[in-house]
Every structure is written in structure tokens, then in C-alpha cells.
Symmetry: C2
Subunit: 498 residues, 2 copies
């Protein structure tokens, strides 16, 4: 259906894909990070973005080019690729951001899409309305109507083989985001940015970012390429990919550098306050923070501290992108998200919100992977646990069944003895060597794992009302035992000395 986007691998709701960009004659691997290039200020030459950082696609702003007398003619004349010196794919924004900032712009969707076509953009954007968070519902609905018109105007335009963005808006109303996603998906447009995320991202409202993405995804086709517009901080890439985003753009690398800020996968530091670089990129391997600070004073250095900071910021971002891709391939993306959730309390909110949607995520999560690592209380809420509980409700059970965390007793009167392993719960021994039951779990299990295992017992008991179930558990917490149905007999193995 979206024949220019092919999904190769899934993990959680994340995927590795190939976005074909016909006008550029290239195929871009996703998740992809598009450095934002200001056509007036090339902080790092686009050629270097490709050669040194591996950028396959970048994004620049057609509205700024159109409004800037000094460069407009040259870009129209040379075309965007020659002007920027970049052979990869180039996406262009339309001025929607300026519309949101200043309330008005002097261009229509029809005009700006034609301009984008003329300058040789590979992926163009209509003039949608990026409704900010927390507005009243009337405004969100009204502006969504305008965005719909912009999408219709974009569909009607003569665009040749240029791809087109279909932004998904709806402010902080999940049902409006979902409806907007459904509408955008029904157009013949190509790439689906979830818009107006910057205010949420700037105020660390990651839980609401996840809600917006999940809502948009519920409306969009599963095979639609999704762009998280304005998102490029390495801290949240893994979370956003796990929620289902494929494209990102980063202005942060340059903007932050201008303010002396240094990005890491767990937050943002100030060069002014740093004594050590927690990085070994070519910039950080060759300089100390003190050296970079000194460069700002002297005018003799051939490169400025700002430029070097921007390079570090891009290195750490592309490094995280490679880490995310590697995690998808090896099926441990949710473990990476678990690590990143410890960078900031708001990231933990983001993970907890993502796991509210474990049922949705389960649909694209591979049935078999290398290993499930239980690395936090949140691991108990992973889709694999949910899936196992669903499966338990479909398993046939004999009349008298012992479920136990210990080995099977040598002598017993049960019809069968199943293993119990938190956070999954019970399963026939024959399944022991299958994913996810091969999970590595800590020796010191927590209450969350026990509660999840108890819910597995409940799932089995509920589906088999006529079976007699006995549970041997290793000293579970009271709240786990509360989750076991009353009719299941329980024995504390620790008291039995087993």
C-alpha cells in the first residue's frame, strides 16, 4: 500500500525500514535522523553530515529559502542539492512552524508545494497548523479542519515523483490525533509527521509524547512511515522508536551547541560546568572540556568550540541511532528503553506510559527473540508477559495440576506439574526452552514480577474453572498472593524448606 516504505524488522512497535525517495534516487534506512540544516548558516557542511556522520537524509526549510532574497534565486537556479552540496534525500518544511510562532505566513499550501518542487525538494510539506498542547477542544478541532484542507490541497498538486508529508495534528487530544491519523492515512500522501511535539519535548512531557504517537499510530496504517517532527535529542530516540516512530530531525545539535550545551543519552550538560567528557567521539577523544572552553576566547583556532560541540552532539545522536537499530535487530529494544528511562523521571513516565499500550505493541513484537532480560519492575509489564498470559487462557489443563517455582516433587498425586517463573507465571515444562520463558531474571525478584506471575496463574485458573490448581511459590509478597484466585491452593515453598 505504501509501496515506497518497506518494513524489514520489528521489535516492540519499533522497526527497521527502507524509505524509497524516488526524486533523490536513494533509499533511506529507518529509523533515520535528519539533521536540520539552516540554509543561511551551515554549522556543519552537509557533505560532512553524509561522509562523517552517515546522514542519508536532511531537512531544511523552504519557507526560509523563499523569504530570503539573498539565496532564493540561487537555490531556484542551482537546485537544493547543489546549493547544499548534498547527494542524499532532502525533506523541506513549509513554514508551518513560522505560522505557529507568528500567527500568519504569506504563502498557501499550493504555492509552497510548487516552490518546493521547483527547488528540487525530495519530500515536501503542506502548510498544516501545528496546534500546541493544552488548547481547548474547539480550537484543536477547528485547526485540524484547516490541516485537512492543506492535505487535500497537497493531494491535488502536481508533484511528479516528489514525496509529500501528511502531518498529523490534534494537540493533546488522543481521539483527535487518532482521527487525524486515520484521515491522513486515507490520502495518497506519503510520510506522516506527528506534529507540534516541540512544546511537549521542551518541557520533558514524554508521557504525552508517547500518548500522541500511539494515538496517531492507531489511526495510521501499520505500514505508514511516521516522523516525530522536531524530535532529535538522543535521550528519547529509543523510546520514540519503540512507540513506532521512523523518522526524526535534529536542530538540537546546532541550537544547543550555540548555547554551550552538550547532549548525552541521559540529558543535556553545560560545557561551562563539565570537567570530563563522557564520550569518546573524535571531538571528545581529542579535547577536554577545559580546552574547548579556552578556544572560545582566542581567535586563532581554525574551528570554534561551538562547531566542535555541534559535532559531538551529532556524533552522540547518530551513535544512539545505531544503538537503536542494533537493539531492534537483536530484539532488545525494550531493554534499551528501560536503560534510557533512568536518565530522567520524565523518561520513566514515558516508559510507564508506553507499557500502558503493551497490548498494541504486542501485535508487532516478534514471537521469538534471543533473550528476555528482566531488568526492572517495568519489565513485568512488557508485551511478552501479556502475550504469555493470553496464551495461558488457551492452554488445556488436567484435573489436578501443581504449579511450582521449585523442581517437581519426586512423588506426588497430581496429573501434571508445571513450572512457575516470575514474571510470566505457569507453563508446561515442555515450553521451558522457548522464548520468552528462557528469560534471565535477577536472583532478587521483586513484587512486580511476583504480581505478574500471579496474574498468569489467575489467567490459567479463570480459563479452567473445573481444574484443581495448587501453587508452590517462593515467599511471594502479600499483594502477589492477593492476585491469585482464592480457589487456587497456595504453599510457601520457603516454609516447606524446599
Amino acid at each position: 500500500m505504501r509501496d515506497h516504505f518497506e518494513i524489514r524488522d520489528h521489535d516492540a512497535a519499533g522497526r527497521i525500514g527502507r524509505l524509497e525517495v524516488p526524486r533523490a534516487g536513494v533509499t533511506v534506512e529507518t529509523p533515520a535522523l535528519l539533521p536540520v540544516v539552516n540554509p543561511n548558516v551551515l554549522t556543519i557542511e552537509p557533505r560532512r553530515l553524509a561522509e562523517e556522520f552517515g546522514a542519508e537524509m536532511l531537512i531544511t526549510n523552504s519557507y526560509i529559502i523563499r523569504s530570503t532574497d539573498r539565496i532564493r534565486g540561487r537555490v531556484l537556479d542551482q537546485g537544493l542539492h547543489e546549493f547544499l552540496g548534498f547527494d542524499g534525500a532532502i525533506m523541506t518544511d513549509s513554514g508551518s512552524f513560522q505560522l505557529a510562532e507568528y500567527g500568519d505566513i504569506d504563502v498557501t499550501t499550493e504555492e509552497i508545494i510548487e516552490f518546493q518542487r521547483q527547488i528540487g525538494s525530495d519530500v515536501a510539506t503542506p502548510v498544516d497548523v501545528p496546534t500546541p498542547p493544552d488548547v481547548d477542544r474547539d480550537r484543536a478541532e477547528r485547526e485540524l479542519e484547516t490541516t485537512r484542507t492543506a492535505l487535500a490541497d497537497a493531494e491535488a498538486a502536481d508533484t511528479g515523483d516528489m514525496l509529500l508529508n501528511a502531518p498529523v495534528q490534534g494537540s493533546t487530544f488522543p481521539d483527535l490525533r487518532e482521527e487525524a491519523g486515520r484521515h491522513a492515512s486515507a490520502t495518497d500522501l506519503d510520510v506522516f509527521p506527528v506534529g507540534a511535539m516541540v512544546p511537549l519535548l521542551n518541557s520533558y512531557r514524554y508521557a504525552e509524547v508517547v500518548e500522541a504517537v500511539r494515538a496517531a499510530k492507531r489511526g495510521l496504517d501499520p505500514d505508514a512511515p511516521v516522523h516525530l517532527f522536531g524530535a532529535g535529542h538522543p535521550m528519547m530516540l529509543a523510546l520514540a522508536v519503540a512507540a513506532g516512530c521512523d523518522l526524526f530531525d535534529s536542530a538540537a545539535y546546532a541550537l544547543m551547541a550555540r548555547d554551550g550545551r552538550y547532549l548525552t543519552v541521559s540529558g543535556t550538560e553545560h560545557l561551562e560546568e563539565m570537567e570530563y567528557f563522557p564520550c569518546s567521539c573524535p571531538v571528545c577523544a581529542e579535547h577536554t572540556p577545559a580546552e574547548l572552553r579556552q578556544m572560545d576566547g582566542g581567535g586563532t583556532a581554525d574551528r570554534s568550540a561551538e562547531e566542535l560541540l555541534a559535532e559531538h552532539n551529532l556524533h552522540v545522536t547518530f551513535e544512539e541511532l545505531r544503538r537503536v537499530k542494533a537493539a531492534i535487530r537483536s530484539g532488545d529494544l525494550l531493554q534499551l528503553v528501560d536503560r534510557r528511562a533512568r536518565g530522567h523521571p520524565a523518561m520513566l513516565d514515558g516508559l510507564r506510559t508506553l507499557l500502558d499500550h503493551a497490548d498494541e505493541i504486542e501485535r508487532t513484537d516478534p514471537v521469538s527473540k534471543d533473550a528476555f532480560f528482566y531488568t526492572s519492575h517495568e519489565s513485568a509489564r512488557r508485551p511478552e508477559v501479556r502475550r504469555h498470559h493470553d496464551r495461558l487462557s488457551r492452554l488445556a489443563v488436567p484435573d489436578r495440576l501443581l504449579l511450582t517455582e521449585s523442581d517437581a516433587p519426586s512423588d506426588h498425586e497430581y496429573d501434571a506439574v508445571w513450572r512457575v517463573k516470575p514474571p510470566f507465571g505457569p507453563f508446561p515444562r515442555a515450553l521451558s526452552e522457548t522464548y520468552p520463558l528462557t528469560a534471565e531474571v535477577p536472583e532478587r525478584l521483586d513484587g512486580a514480577a511476583q504480581v505478574a506471575a500471579a496474574e498468569g496463574v489467575a489467567s490459567l485458573a479463570d480459563a479452567n474453572p473445573d481444574s484443581d490448581l495448587t501453587l508452590g511459590h517462593d515467599d511471594w509478597a502479600a499483594r502477589a498472593l492477593d492476585a491469585v484466585p482464592d480457589r487456587v491452593e497456595t504453599e510457601n515453598l520457603r516454609h516447606l524448606g524446599r
Copy 2:
């Protein structure tokens, strides 16, 4: 007391220090990582270890030098520093490891210390007995007696300004480790390696590594420099530093590279299976895994894949060391450990074990830092929470006190209204802007934070048996309310609509 070691900064039980090494004429900043240099195979030239990786100290094996006819004379002649081409501090091992491996070596402590002095070692090691884990207690005690004799022989030796290691053994018996620490600390030896950790590290028994370190530290002087012998995987550096270790040595960087293994802060990968390098060190920024695999075939490359892998392994290890130091300076070492605990279930066991010792760790944890981030259930067990609960038991309380998670009611009959903030619990509003009560916590608080807050309420109630306490809570879990003493009246604010 240990006048060659000065502690500059503390965080948890971790510290930044300066180890003065008089024979080398240098001062080494700790935590320090000592690359292990095989005198027969210089995988990376020691000069490059200093210049490109920032190694201030390295370790090599005097027993191997003494046993290798091909090099012994040259090292005796030139001295170790010229032989290796390294100006920094050089520590030498004694053959203890070989003793543990092969059961017997042909040298005494007296002889090997004299040899170390002759070759110009800066920190020498006696022939202690590295008792492995899980042996019976008799053997652990017997071998500890031999180690004690080795320490006495080292003390008696004429060593000039060469420093001496005093290894702390004791297998997996915490009381023996503590006793061994106390004994070592009473000698006039200088550096204190916690020994025989390799079998535990190799089998991911991080909880027991933490127990061994904490036990040794209970016996050692607080200002003794502690070396975690044989530990250099970047995954566990932060945990080990937070537990109180100052020196590390890594043979892993070279040994792993020989097997095609690639270190990361969350585990070990196999080059054979990698598609992306999750790193931007000079090696990984310039090569893809596929390129490195191809190098192995051709003989034309001027550097081998093994050498490049070793360089990456060292880069990622030194990068983590800088990250650990930065975390100590900014007071967020336990947040870094929290992140690293999500790399493997065994690392989570390590963190959970470290927090069993929150009382010990609290003693060196700074009273004020920048910010407390609540990033996991484990955050509820941090020393700052413990300290606040202790403080609550010392605060004077009026007759009628309202403790509430919401704002103070505009109209009330209490003598005072205090805030309640999980995981800390109650406090007078005047303390709101003091550490750690300025903590950033997730919007979605968990049961562990509520239970800890309830324990704070209990601490206050127990110390003030004559006061009437009322608690307004935001829908706490049953197990948190169970931890509130019965005589404290509770109100669920969510039910009250506040």
C-alpha cells in the same frame, strides 16, 4: 594516615582521589583504570595508552618477566619504564594469579618483591593466595593465614619509595573479608586490592562482588585506596566505584578483542553478529562491523581487526571512567548505577545488594547535591531517603499535625501542615527547597516510593508518640498504607477530590 592517597570528592561510597606514586614521580587521579600490559605482547603500545587513551598508570606482571628468559635481562637492564616506553606509574603483579591457576609457583614474596624493586616497579605485590569463591571455610581461613604471612614479608622488605599492595582475600565469606581488610589496614602497606574477584565477575555474580567489596571496606580504613583486582568491564565500573573501589585493571580490552568481542556499557557483543557499532569512538566512527570483519581476511591492512577492537574496548572503558568521575562531581553516581543496572539482571542484583548497605553508604554521601532524580523503584532505597527518615525521628512536632501531599487547606484546625513527598515522606514546608526534597519525581509514582514515604510517616510518628497525626495521601497502594502506624489517621485525597 595513608598520606599518599587524598580523597577530593565523595558520592555514595565512590570518590575522586589522588594517588601519589613517589617512585614514578606522578600523581594518579582515581578512579583509575590500569590497562594490563602483557610484557610479551604489546597489543597497543603503552605510549599510545597514555597519549590517546589517557592512561596514567598501567599494570604488568613481574612473574612473567622473571620467568621469560627472552626479556628478563633486558627489563633488568633498561628498567620497566624504558622497556615498556611508559612514563606514568607502573604496578606489577607477583604471580599470585599463576599460583591460583597452577597451584604452585617458584618464587617467594621476599624474592618477587626484590625483583619488582630491581626492575623499577612503582607499586609491587606480594605472593598472596587468591582463594576462589565457594570453597569451604577451613580452606578460606587457612589461605588467609598464608596471605597474612605474605603481607608481613612485604612489610619487612627493603622497598625504598616503591608502594606495596596488601591484597584482601577471604573467598565468599564476608566476615573473613572484613577481618582481612582490618588486618591489611593495620600494616604499613599502601594499596588494597580486593582479590580473587575474576571467577565472580566471569559468572556475572555482581551481587557477591558488591558484598565482598563492602565487607573489605568495613575492615579497611575509610581513606585506604581500594583496587578491584581483575575488574575492567565498563558495565560494572559505576557499580564498583559506588561501592567504594578506586583502582581497576583491564585485561578484558585485549583478551576480548582476541576473541572478536566488543565491549559496551551494557554487555559484550560479538563482532561476528554486529551490524551497527553503538559507539562513536575513532574506531567506530571510521568503520562498520562489516569492514572490520573483512580486514581479518586480507593481509594488506596495516592494522588488524583485533587491534582495532582492542582500541574500541579501551575507548569505551575510559569513556565510562570519565562518565563515572563526572557523575561523582555532579553527585549523580547512583543515578548512573541505576542506568547501568538495566544492562543485565545480574547488574540489577548488584544494585539491589549495594542498596542493602545504604546505611554504610550514607556516611560518605554528600548532604547536599544538585538534584535527586527518582528513576526507578530502587531509587526509594537510596541513602538520601534513609537519611531523611533518620532526620524525621529527630524533628519536633506540634500537638496536631497534618501531613499532606496536596497544598495546605485554606482553613484548618491543625497546629501545622507539613508536605509529604514520596519517597521521602513528610517534612516542614521550610525544608522544601533543600536537598534532597527538591527531588524530581515521575508523575506516575510507584508503590515503592509510597512505601518509603509511609516509612517516613512511621519514623515521625514513632518519635512523637503524643502528637496527633493526620495523613492526606494521593491514592497510595494498600501496602504503603499498611506501613503507616494505625494511630495516624489517613485520608485519600483523590476521594476527597483535592
